[in-house]
């Protein structure tokens, strides 16, 4: 391929994006500043925000109850900016393991956790998670005993889901920041569980 230095030709879709954006700016529907600000806002949305919510639920029983009753209100209590999010937290217990999927597209609590990973949007995850959750979880290295009920949540409408994992043994006396550090995005989707050390 001819060396063109830093210049890379636009793909058809990149051309569409540039063209659409310029048209929208010319028509006064958006400005470049607004687009850049929105990009920055989305970059700032990372799983750590959800981890804070989980850590607080582990440390504060009354907060945990409020989180389970209304996930949106609980996040707002922590000052998290989550415009339009209707959040439902589902709790793992010794009897129940929860996992989230959107079979129809890729609904995910983006405004809390950020953009979902590629695999969450993939055909293989979306097709198989509702039908053979135990096999899919095993591919992620998570084996759930038969004595534990698996609840798969297919987000088909306006609610968005986050799994509240069980607090692992060996975290007694930890402060919230230390607890939050072991809560991964995958644990909040339900394909992993938090681990100590």
């Amino acid at each position: 391929m001819k060396d063109q230095g830093k210049y890379q030709p636009l793909t058809y879709f990149q051309l569409m994006e540039t063209s659409l954006r310029e048209l929208l700016v010319e028509k006064g529907l958006v400005t470049d500043e607004q687009v850049n600000a929105e990009v920055a806002a989305m970059r700032a949305r990372q799983p750590e925000r959800g981890a804070r919510v989980v850590a607080k639920a582990w440390a504060d029983e009354a907060f945990r109850q409020r989180l389970l009753k209304n996930g949106t209100a609980a996040c707002e209590e922590l000052g998290l900016e989550i415009p339009g999010l209707r959040l439902v937290a589902v709790e793992n217990t010794p009897q129940v393991h929860n996992a989230i999927v959107c079979t129809l597209c890729s609904c995910y609590p983006r405004v809390l956790l950020g953009i979902p990973p590629d695999w969450y949007k993939s055909r293989n995850y979306r097709s198989r998670m509702v039908r053979e959750p135990r096999a899919v979880l095993a591919e992620f290295g998570l084996r759930i005993p038969e004595s534990v009920q698996i609840r798969v949540h297919d987000s088909t409408a306006d609610m968005r889901y986050i799994v509240l994992p069980m607090r692992p043994q060996g975290t007694e006396g930890w402060d919230e920041a230390r607890l939050a550090a072991i809560v991964t995005r995958d644990a909040m989707i339900g394909v992993a569980v938090p681990k100590v050390g």
């Binding site: 209304n70 949106t72 209707r86 439902v88 079979t103 129809l104 509702v130 039908r131 053979e132 959750p133 135990r134 096999a135 038969e146 004595s147 534990v148 009920q149 698996i150 609840r151 798969v152 949540h153 297919d154 987000s155 088909t156 409408a157 306006d158 609610m159």
Partner: protein, 105 residues
């Protein structure tokens, strides 16, 4: 039944109660539909009333989707949904389904 997320759209009245057995209508019309194919015709139990929301089938066609339809979380036993389900008998799948896709079981 108190919705988990109250909205103030003009809404159709709620027909179903928590714990009630309902069947997902078995039909395959054209259009944008948020009731997955795999669950149609199956019987589950109302787990909660999520709230009432404008109909996405109508919103997709650039109409306002009003009056809002009650949206329920419905719980289904996996072994009843998939004939060859390999997992615990207690395993479930929970899906949000609009009232107009449900009938009494």
């Amino acid at each position: 039944m108190k919705p988990q997320f109250a909205t103030d759209y003009p809404a159709v009245s709620t027909r179903f109660k928590v714990g009630q057995r309902v069947r997902v209508r078995k039909t395959a019309p054209l259009g944008h539909i948020r009731t997955p194919f795999y669950i149609r015709g199956h019987v589950g139990e109302i787990e909660r009333l999520c709230g009432s929301f404008p109909n996405p089938e109508e919103l997709a066609q650039m109409r306002d989707g009003l009056p809002a339809q009650p949206l329920y979380r419905v719980r289904f036993k996996q072994k009843e949904v998939w004939p060859d389900y390999r997992g615990a008998d207690s395993d479930v799948v929970e899906i949000e389904i609009f009232q107009h896709w449900l009938e009494r079981a």
